[in-house]
């Protein structure tokens, strides 16, 4: 049982060195992403995509594979993304299948839990392609996992729709077969800043705090660049550790700078911690915006009135109004289920797989959008070959309940999708921007912490 003192000392010194070097590396600016494709093997193998189809024809069944994490640190988000994807698959199958040149084609989603581990996500993805012979892939949730499996999709030439991963870096690698269906991280705060300068042209000072992670850094960098482009002064631009216990030092710095707008490029727990500690230190601002955290129902459950008036950008909310009628007005094609149908199918799946009915959030809708994009491409190309589907998508413009889609062939990103801004008002989340899809009105300026403590609600 006794561990020798030497071994203990060695373990301790190695741990200190690892953490010290890790912290030092994390303090360095990120390396520039390569702009050329590092993978050279881009041809599909001969066994690819032949299982259920004849060349040049619609297959009998479209098979999509995913190494979605449904346990580990991304368990909640991965689960919702998967259920969202399954809701769309079930909707098509219940309606006879995907219409492919007049032929009804069934849709199948093969999923395996990657446990939020990169190496597992990579081996599952490879096995989905080589063993299960899937036609297409949905990325796993999480930028690190999606980035990690992208070279595999590229190597085998299998089209992968990226869902639940917004890091710009995924799309800066020059991968041909990896496409984005929603806005990347760097664009998250653009609608928030647009909204604030249009609502109040006197706004001048912005403070930005961000979590030390790839995704959050890009959210913050995008926000800083856009704020400066709008002529705003970024008075605080500060990183905090990825699992912070205490943000008081950073928040004291924000307090000193007295900004008009506070932006926190956060994830779940740290975003909630930031609001809690802004309240503790009574740091008031005209607007407080966070990424990710305000979109989770538990945000309000945990913070109560402190969450009032907080805003955040979202890829999709149940309140948004993308409908077949709006598609007609904009003269674009409508594809897939309506919002109401999606919500109904999602609830069924959630009850079946999770034991209770829940409403979908943006993770679920994003997962669904990935499947919808692939299926739209299959319908247009009348083929399940990645190259043909990619060609079809590059010339397509269509609308789903998630929003519009138009692929930029240079970046492989969906440039037609605009994020919405939500605000917590009276314990509910309302879409307040842009007006055309909003179901609420922005309350500005935000209540002060004293007003919130006195029980005043943001409505």
């Amino acid at each position: 049982m006794a561990v020798s003192k030497t071994l203990l000392a060695v373990i301790a010194v190695v741990a200190v060195l690892l953490i010290g070097v890790g912290a030092w590396l994390a303090s360095q600016p990120p390396a520039q992403a390569p702009t050329t494709t590092p993978i050279t093997t881009a041809q599909p193998t001969s066994s690819q995509q032949t299982s259920t189809m004849q060349t040049g024809e619609c297959p009998d069944e479209v098979v999509i594979g995913t190494a979605m994490p449904i346990s580990g640190r991304y368990a909640a988000e991965g689960q919702y993304s998967l259920w969202g994807a399954l809701a769309v698959v079930n909707w098509f199958n219940d309606n006879g299948g995907l219409d492919c040149g007049g032929k009804k084609v069934k849709v199948k989603l093969i999923y395996r839990d990657s446990e939020s581990k990169l190496e597992l996500a990579q081996s599952i993805t490879e096995s989905l392609i080589t063993q299960d012979k899937v036609h297409f892939l949905l990325s796993p949730y999480g930028s690190d996992l999606a980035l990690g499996v992208s070279p595999i999709a590229e190597k085998y030439g299998v089209l992968m729709a990226v869902v639940g991963a917004a890091s710009d870096r995924i799309f800066q690698q020059g991968f041909k077969y990896v496409i984005g269906v929603a806005a990347p991280a760097s664009q998250y705060m653009i609608p928030v800043l647009d909204m604030v300068v249009k609502t109040d042209p006197t706004v001048k000072k912005v403070a930005i705090l961000y979590r030390d992670s790839e995704f959050n850094r890009q959210v913050a960098e995008g926000a800083k660049a856009y704020a400066e482009k709008l002529g705003l002064q970024v008075v605080v631009y500060e990183v905090y550790p990825s699992s912070p216990k205490d943000l008081t030092p950073q928040i004291l710095k924000v307090k000193q700078a007295a900004p008009d707008v506070i932006i926190v490029a956060s994830h779940f727990a740290d975003g909630q911690l930031a609001v809690q500690q802004l309240a503790e230190q009574k740091v008031d601002a005209k607007l407080i915006a966070l990424s990710v955290a305000p979109l989770v129902p538990d945000f309000y459950k945990a913070l109560g009135a402190k969450a009032e008036c907080v805003v955040g950008p979202s890829h999709w909310e149940p309140g948004v109004k993308y409908t077949p009628d709006l598609a007609k007005q904009r003269n674009v094609e409508w594809f897939g289920p309506t919002k109401e149908e999606f919500i109904e199918y999602f609830r069924k799946i959630a009850k079946q797989m999770g034991g209770h009915e829940v409403d979908p959030g943006y993770h679920a809708a994003w997962g669904a959008k990935g499947v919808l994009t692939i299926l739209y491409g299959v319908q247009k190309a009348m083929s399940a070959k990645s190259d043909k589907v990619l060609d079809a998508l590059q010339n397509a413009r269509f609308m789903t309940f998630f929003g519009e889609f138009k692929l930029d062939p240079t970046t492989n990103l969906n440039v037609a999708h605009s994020m919405v801004v939500i605000q917590w008002q009276g314990g509910n989340r309302y879409v307040v921007w842009p007006a055309v899809v909003a179901d609420g009105k922005l309350l500005y300026p935000s209540l002060t912490w004293d007003e919130k403590a006195a029980g005043k609600l943001c409505k």
Binding site: A76, Q79, T248, A269
Partner: protein, 290 residues
């Protein structure tokens, strides 16, 4: 704004760092076992605080007693079921504890779900040197100090404490003079994990909204370094090391920020670990001896 608020912030969070590491240090010092499931027991303590507050309206300071009792039982089971059974197979113990940590996280996920949860408990705040200090945190920090002092007194003045210190210094010698080493091991494991789950409850006063099945990992790593720095098995040393760690983090941020570093929080963390490394090199047994 002067440095005082940053110093106070560091002291308060450091007090909790110290408390949550006491159990790890005790087990490490007495049993020579690196409890890699440490963070999982902190997580269990955090969930006990959450459940007691949300479901039963029991405030955290009261639920900490429940967490302590559950931790003691768990600590005894860990000793009897894992550490004692695997005996001298130190690597097997490490692997078993690692597996136990992963198992506890997945069990917590089954019980409480994968989402982040939290609770609000506010009893007011006081302003000191421009810093608003929540009373819950202040009381938590003071109680952490008192628990540390109580544990130190137990180790200094009771038979059990003297036996523990004897085992830390020389297990074979302790056995020769009649100390029941097996019982000391069992008590230490129970007490160590009891304090760890209790620390998890206190931690929720600081991260009231970040409770999650996988929250424990960073605390295991940080706890390991603080424990080694303080001196393995040394209660006072561990607490002081926790305080230093908190102050390095907070004051370091302020100083690097003033100096114009782009990412002062990372530099502060780097500085904190460099200081720890220096202390380890100069005093390999840690700041304090038991």
């Amino acid at each position: 704004m002067d440095i005082t608020p940053y110093f106070l912030t560091g002291i308060i969070i450091g007090s909790i760092y110290g408390l949550t590491t006491l159990g790890l240090s005790l087990i490490f010092g007495v049993l020579r076992v690196a409890n890699v499931a440490h963070g999982a027991f902190i997580m269990i303590g955090a969930y006990i605080a959450y459940t007691a507050f949300v479901a039963l309206a029991i405030p955290p300071f009261a639920s900490s007693l429940l967490a302590f009792a559950i931790g003691i039982a768990a600590g005894y089971l860990v000793y009897a079921g894992v550490i004692k059974r695997l005996g001298k197979a130190e690597l097997n113990i490490l692997v078993a504890l690692f597996a136990l940590g992963a198992l506890l996280a997945e069990v917590a996920r089954l019980i409480w779900g994968p989402d982040f949860v939290g609770y609000r408990w506010t009893i007011g705040s006081v302003e000191v040197a421009g810093l608003q200090i929540e009373l819950t945190k202040l009381i938590g920090a003071i109680l952490a100090l008192m628990i540390t002092i109580a544990l130190e007194l137990v180790l200094r003045w009771t038979y059990f404490g003297r036996a523990v210190r004897a085992v830390v210094q020389d297990p074979v010698g302790a056995m020769v003079v009649g100390v029941n080493v097996d019982r000391v091991f069992a008590f230490s494991s129970a007490l160590g994990i009891g304090i760890t789950t209790l620390g998890g409850v206190f931690l929720t006063l600081f991260i009231p909204v970040g409770i999650n099945p996988y929250m424990g990992g960073p605390y295991t790593l940080m706890g390991f370094v603080i424990a080694v720095m303080g001196g393995l098995g040394s209660v006072a040393g561990t607490y002081v090391a926790g305080l230093l760690f908190g102050v390095f983090e907070s004051v370091g941020f302020y100083l690097f920020s003033l100096a114009g570093f782009a990412e002062p929080s990372q530099m502060a963390l780097f500085l904190a670990f460099v200081m720890l490394l220096l202390i380890l090199l100069l005093r390999p047994t840690g700041l304090f001896r038991i």
